[in-house]
Symmetry: D2
Subunit: 349 residues, 4 copies
């Protein structure tokens, strides 16, 4: 159930509603829009009598949500939610470009990439330190050392760190280094992990599982929100299909669907979504035009020697070309792509 | 095998090579590029000795094609093939916009739509007269009468007709009315129909079957080309997947893949591809940016009373909005969208 | 709509009901059960008034069928329909075993196989003469010559011929040779072909398309039945899925589903369904126990030299082993497998 | 790499080989067959020189395994591995029948079911205490109390407990109550959980994820085996597909495939695999005949009031009928199904 508060409600009235919810043994979730506040109620097993709240001071309306997802639903908030990451945003006017290698491979590798990306105007650095791999015998990431290298590189380059949380055991550690936590496709149904992350107050990017429906993706977000973490970013990364020509089948329709059904941002990972670097550029452009709030791109200085996923990584020059194209395209859908740092300096290429 | 002719080869030399191919009992296919000619050879059961041609006058090179598709492959022609339809083109600089109702329902319905679309700048009119339907008890189209209404409307509006050929029996009839023949998803594996169409000299649009791989789609084109019809347009219209929220899963990656592997154009049908009118606009934009040569959109003056597929048809005002957006976006990928006719006139209704 | 006639209705009363249906401009379908007759009515665009028939002599009840498939539905006939093929049956107590090579390759090849299979007790000989192939350059079958060889071999061996009808053009020819017409997976949505076959009075086996739902498979049967051909056999042959280890994903659940929803028999093709000969034996057994009325198995004297599908064909000794296993298993589900002819002779190897 | 020891090798020689492996910094895995021992080696990053072991006493052969799965592969052990659970076995001659409700709902519910199942001859009791649910607001199981009820019921009925481990946090708790740990479909890619379970010495049943390939399923087992737990049971439970008529698409071909590729047993869950109780009986029979080592069936005294998955649960009488059918069918594939207790005793409660 949702309690819509009036535009100019006094904080005290809001608190009274929340107290009322708690007194009934339920959980109140204060979701703030640009002008008013909505209070989502979870934890109830059956319908709550709307009259309990309708008469309270400052209450505009009380609404039952019929969809299985409540707190991530557009029903609770008409406007887009913008996630704040330092001075930057996800879901706002800036197109969020997340880039970096599949895995952190060494201090110098990640530092080199970070500085290069930063110069191109990229603010979000990705890199896997704990890698869930199909085989127990494959490279599993540099682990804590990888996190250190990643953070160090990001700080040096003035970027934010996004990296995967593999399990609840390493969550506290990853919390120390990451600015955005990433839940990988294989963990989208790992509800215990989602709940632990829900208890944190840090943005989380949730990747769609290999064959998850859009509703299941939204429900994964609901697990996080139900615990009080309302900084959720969804990520489409391709579904499993039958065509051997592509690693996955990038489902761009997920973008307008998620935007329609949820107030949280959605970004697209065309690197995993296609598995082929030469499909990354056209599909990145398409994703932005379909309404994506951002992109997550694998970039590697020398894809041929990457420890994982080299075939789908862009070389720096190709990535630069992609950014230039995005700078042209994004304004059409109301987004902007940050200029390269060099352009703010005297000699602009 | 492919015989590449030199840039300035005399027509006589080309004919000699083709004669040589025929004399060996094989079929020569002359595929002309902007500056030179390529001769594809089919009908051979085993490898042909390249020396047979290398020494002939005007021959630049002789190449074995390892891919299963030969004549539709980029290997035989590096440049894009542009299909001429009257004074208009598919695969050229103009974004091909095909629009109209799912079914031709009456003379007045299709005429009204045609005039409206034409005024908006649309040159290609779609409308089903022979409808393959899952149920034998569903509306199967107005048949020949539908073709007449469609052609009449197109002529009145100055448009080209594209309509589905359901079977070989009605092919001669459809040939009389259509400017572009359409092979529906259910007929993509109907090789007998493809061969009959291959014997025609009229453009054909081939829709991807529900779970066809890209290679199978290209092979359907190869069936047409092998019979000498080199006016092929591929069409992505969504694959079958597991998510009940959409009718199909629009596979936009097919666009850059087909552009990479084939010299023939590809267009996208986001109406069937999503099955929901409010997803058509974002996915149309995404398709164009991914590199599609055109779009096929279901438009109906009153979707709520359409005899088929109303839920995925755009109302005229929404379609007009889509065209306006496409006019802004297309130039970014080097395409243009025709201006509305009304805009060139003084009084704009 | 269905008109159920009383057990002991006079033929004249049945004819009167059928005449009444015709007089209304609809089509009557007389479907006979073991004790009573049901008259299915198709061709109506809207609901028919049940009172029109309820008062007629011999009428037991009048029922509206809510499912999209009417004549193939269990609603119209509670008992299993048994298809008569010469002295043999499909859908009765005998497990229908259809065997033979993927393609008829030569007179001696098919004769040798037929005699061998016949000796093992097999009554249905399969063999492709018109082969729909993904590539126009692949072996397309021996065509009419293949049909001749096939028929000749079947006659010599005392077997029935089942072979694929590729298109309406060759249907009359195939009709002359085949005892059961086969509609391949690629033609399951070829409604024009289904309608032409519906006008014949010969059994037809319809293979499920690569990604057809069970309802679509039943609707393909409905197309045949709506034209008056009530001798339909459905065939599960694997759906398209994501695992590269198998050619298709054999969906055995289709068997109990089709048995539940339709009165027509269903058989299983584990050769195409798995694409691997060593999976054919376990999956054949499983199919029978799941309730299949029969099996269609690719058998080749020397799979390594087969012109098509060798990797999924059983060698004769393996096929013999399969038959022996089926003879043990089938009785458990109330089916019997014909004994080898040799067992009825004095000493035959 | 695999070191095959000779039939009559002295334990000391085996220990020397294992010591040698450890001295190289790798992990030795002693996998015992009926007559000889095999030592699998993991932890190496590159190929190991086979000569290092070939000359050692007792060594028969040294083999490189090319498949990505090593310890679960048939290459390391030709015979079937039989998992011992108390006095009972999984993968041996007895068909393993696991039955019980989806969720433990109350002490009396699970006790009643356990006694009833035990009387029917069932030795393995299933019941969820920690339930991973798509919605955070759905019933999540009785948790530790559920485990207590489940264990108590199993002890009273003389049965073994199999129950799902939802996460690493609750693993120690579940270890105290479960005889077989279950990894659910949603956790098949949860490598951290698999590794923790690999460190235990208790049988684990791993359910295939919604769209996991067979190779990925085997790799999940490899994660467990690589940590030294060689008591693995695979479980096919249906893959995600496109047909709305069934909850999942039960992929029975997985059974002979896993039996071919791995020495570990595989069982089938037709309840989740079909999502419809009336498909459970035919598909259970089919699974056994396809070679499954057992079945996992949801049984509920009153499915209409079950807190989860009622629609796919068998009523006790239907389950009893299934067992009777399995007793007839299983011997054909060399398996036996335990007789009901009541049939062997004069008066058993």
């Amino acid at each position: 159930m949702i309690v819509l508060m009036k535009h100019d409600t006094a904080p005290g009235d809001i608190e009274k509603v929340m107290e009322k919810v708690r007194s009934l043994g339920f959980l109140p979730h204060a979701i703030s829009g640009s002008q008013s506040m909505t209070i989502g109620i979870t934890g109830n097993k059956s319908r709550i009598d709307t009259d309990l709240f309708m008469s309270m001071s400052g209450v505009e309306d009380v609404i039952q949500v019929s969809k299985p997802y409540k707190l991530v639903s557009r029903d609770i908030k008409r406007e887009d939610t913008v996630i704040q990451v330092g001075e930057d945003e996800v879901g706002g006017k800036d197109l969020t470009v997340i880039a970096g290698p599949c895995s952190v491979e060494s201090r110098s590798q990640i530092l080199e990439i970070a500085l290069m990306l930063s110069e191109m105007g990229v603010k979000f650095l990705r890199g896997g330190a704990y890698k869930p791999r199909t085989s127990p015998y494959s490279f599993q990431g540099l682990k804590e050392e990888g996190l250190e290298f990643l953070k160090e590189a990001a700080v040096a380059a003035g970027m934010h760190v996004i990296t995967e949380v593999k399990d609840t055991e390493t969550l506290p550690l990853v919390m120390r280094y990451a600015d955005i936590l990433q839940v990988g496709s294989r963990n989208m149904y790992n509800f215990s992990l989602l709940e632990r992350i829900g208890e944190q107050r840090k943005p989380v990017l949730i990747k769609r599982a290999f064959s998850a429906t859009i509703e299941e993706l939204l429900m994964a977000g609901e697990y996080v929100a139900a615990k009080g973490n309302y900084q959720i970013i969804f990520c489409e990364r391709g579904i499993r299909s039958f065509d051997p020509l592509t690693r996955n089948s990038l489902d761009l329709t997920a973008v307008p669907l998620v935007k329609k059904l949820s107030h949280f941002p959605i970004i697209v990972d065309p690197s995993h979504g296609t598995g082929a670097w030469d499909l990354v550029i056209p599909m990145s452009q398409a994703a932005v035009v379909a309404g994506a709030d951002g992109l997550m791109i694998e970039v590697h200085p020398d894809p041929s020697v990457a420890l994982s996923d080299g075939f789908q990584s862009l070389r720096p020059d190709k990535f630069k070309e992609l950014l230039e194209r995005l700078r042209v395209i994004s304004p059409i859908v109301g987004k902007t792509v940050r200029a390269p740092q060099s352009s703010t300096l005297v000699s602009n290429n």
